[in-house]
Symmetry: C2
Subunit: 382 residues, 2 copies
């Protein structure tokens, strides 16, 4: 298939490019280097140095023999995005090109406005480019499990049948989030659902939990092919941050009580989920929603796991409860259903001690690059 | 009270300014003339010529003796909006400053992008300006009954308690709309709800049905104080359009089967609803939602009413079913609950024959200005 990947330079984007490319699909990638420039601005750059995207593509060609087409540009510029759709006529577009950080969206009005503007305008532009060039093109959109928040009822897979006063209807599962970033993902879902109903588009919306890890079969071929790996408060996900903190012998920053529970998955499983979704696309006029996770853990459980492996490897790992900078429930019900991707064929990589140890070992190689000031940047929700 | 009205030149905005002003409140109004310029561009200008906003304010002062402060500017410009908040420190802000037309939002990508950008960025800016200057300032936000769409269950007032697998929680009533414009109103609600929970703001979100009429006690004082009155496919609401079509002896344009049912209210009741909401504000950390309507009618019922009065007044009124340019259910369940505003003290003006006849008489005075080409502009949802 011909697959267009938006946000091709990112933590998920670049491994996804390689994953499809190694399976002999034609990959077209776009990125505007937002994450690189924002992390320079905020002094929270990735742990592992990554060549720029054009250099990565050359390395990938040299390593695997497979070509990709890369364009550096901003898909909030519709003329640019449309020209790419017209040039390549992709069968699938994977939309990762959003500002992906909850804390970033809470820094100030300018960053909130950027998040809102970027995330919604990119989604609208993708919708219009698909409609204008090939409405059969399957849109795979990265949402987040955070769209659901922490309701007091079971979280179903995207939809909920409601019976009220003796009548029934089926709706999007109620969504209420914990940050402006997460809110833009709800707003994306609202917008996709409208255009799916109205224009008959084919959309898969992936409610993804926080991702951990930095290894895929493709990136293991050459360390220069590794994904961006953020461990900072802004762009790092919790488990990656804890591991880097352990290696740096910086007390793990548990926010508040640490009973906050979320669904997680290995980077390798994100690759599988997107691949399975692309190979078995949504139907015409279908907004297909998957809950993309493989296991649920509380923050305290993650801290314990990291401490256990860290201690075993000889690091001195402390766990420190810090005042929660976020406004979120620290004790809550959490029961998620996620069978859709398993039914498509997902083979989960669970969070074993071996997996953790492997991540520790890679991180240790780069420990001189750890910027301790990036662990807590002082961004508060209030 | 000091009240800041955003969109002060509009169909609702200008009468609201006068309504508060005549009750001796300090009124500050902002408008960027979007509707005037868009309706010139699209050749669908209002029926009744209206002086510009600064001239209106002079006329109002001459007529009533009351002053208002008017600023012409765009509230997507945060620095401008913030300067107004700092200058006046309002107790209440009424946010009408959105692109208000479903067909406009469906014309093409540029107009969709404008709608998305304008409606969400104005709301975000209002939220931030309130947070930054005075979090106690009560935000009254104009939503739409269209946020709910036409579900197969009763429409409750904003919220729904859901029982699922033996557990309960309360959520925003499920929302799914019929246009991108309406979708931006859902997105506004999502965003307001996030910031209300996070920052403790006080917000009233008014789910308003289509408004009809052109008379308020204040505008009746001088015909030059009358509100904009749109009757075209783009900016006109259905009942206003039908009356102008009847006066023009142009067959009433019923879309499809005409069984589409919505909640309606008289312009005079919009004034009351906003006033009652301002006088009895939402609590700290409350997103208060009211369903703002007084009666529900199907499109066919409205057409019949207009034909009856039109025929009585000597017009030759035909009713014509045109192919529905929208994608919407033409037969559907519709049972809305709306008690909140009645409990605050709303005294409804129902759609009687007398009310209709009065609107007919005013419209007739301007019948030479009717632009028949504006009734059907050919905007299609597909």
């Amino acid at each position: 298939m011909k697959i267009l990947i938006l946000g091709a330079d990112g933590y998920l984007g670049w491994p996804t490019c390689m994953y499809f490319s190694s399976r002999k699909h034609k990959v077209i990638g776009i990125d505007n280097y937002f994450r690189r420039t924002a992390s320079m601005e905020l002094d929270c750059e990735a742990l592992i140095p990554a060549p720029n995207l054009l250099q990565r593509v050359k390395l990938w060609k040299d390593t695997s023999g497979n070509k990709m087409n890369i364009h550096i540009g901003d898909i909030t510029d519709y003329a640019f995005l449309l020209s790419i759709f017209k040039e390549y006529n992709p069968d699938v577009v994977v939309h990762y090109a959003e500002q992906p950080s909850a804390p970033y969206s809470m820094i100030n009005r300018e960053k909130a406005a950027f998040t809102l503007q970027n995330n919604l305008m990119t989604t609208l532009n993708v919708i219009y480019a698909v409609k204008e060039t090939n409405p059969e093109c399957h849109i795979i959109k990265l949402g987040t499990m955070g769209e659901y928040g922490t309701p007091n009822i079971d979280i179903e897979e995207g939809w909920l049948e409601i019976e009220h006063k003796g009548r029934k209807d089926k709706f999007l599962f109620p969504r209420q989030t914990g940050s402006l970033y997460h809110t833009t993902k709800i707003q994306d879902t609202d917008m996709l659902w409208f255009y799916v109903r109205t224009w008959g588009l084919r959309v898969t919306d992936l409610m993804q939990g926080p991702v951990y890890g930095l290894s895929t079969d493709e990136s293991d071929m050459d360390s220069r092919l590794m994904p961006h790996f953020h461990y900072d408060e802004i762009f790092g996900t919790v488990l990656n941050r804890f591991i880097v903190q352990a290696v740096a012998e910086y007390p793990l920053t548990v926010y508040g009580k640490g009973n906050q529970t979320r669904g997680f998955l290995n980077l390798k499983d994100t690759m599988q989920c997107v691949y399975l979704s692309a190979e078995q696309p949504a139907e015409h006029k279908q907004l297909r929603i998957f809950n993309q996770l493989t296991e649920a853990f509380s923050v305290n459980q993650l801290a314990e796991k990291v401490k256990k492996i860290g201690d075993k490897l000889g690091y001195n790992v402390a766990v420190n409860s810090v005042k929660n900078p976020r406004i979120e429930k620290e004790d809550h019900y959490y029961n998620i259903h996620y069978t859709g991707l398993l039914e498509l064929g997902l083979q989960p990589h669970f969070l074993t001690d071996d997996v953790l140890e492997e991540i520790f070992k890679v991180v240790d190689k780069y420990k001189d690059r750890i910027n301790r000031s990036a662990f807590l940047k002082g961004i508060k929700w209030t």
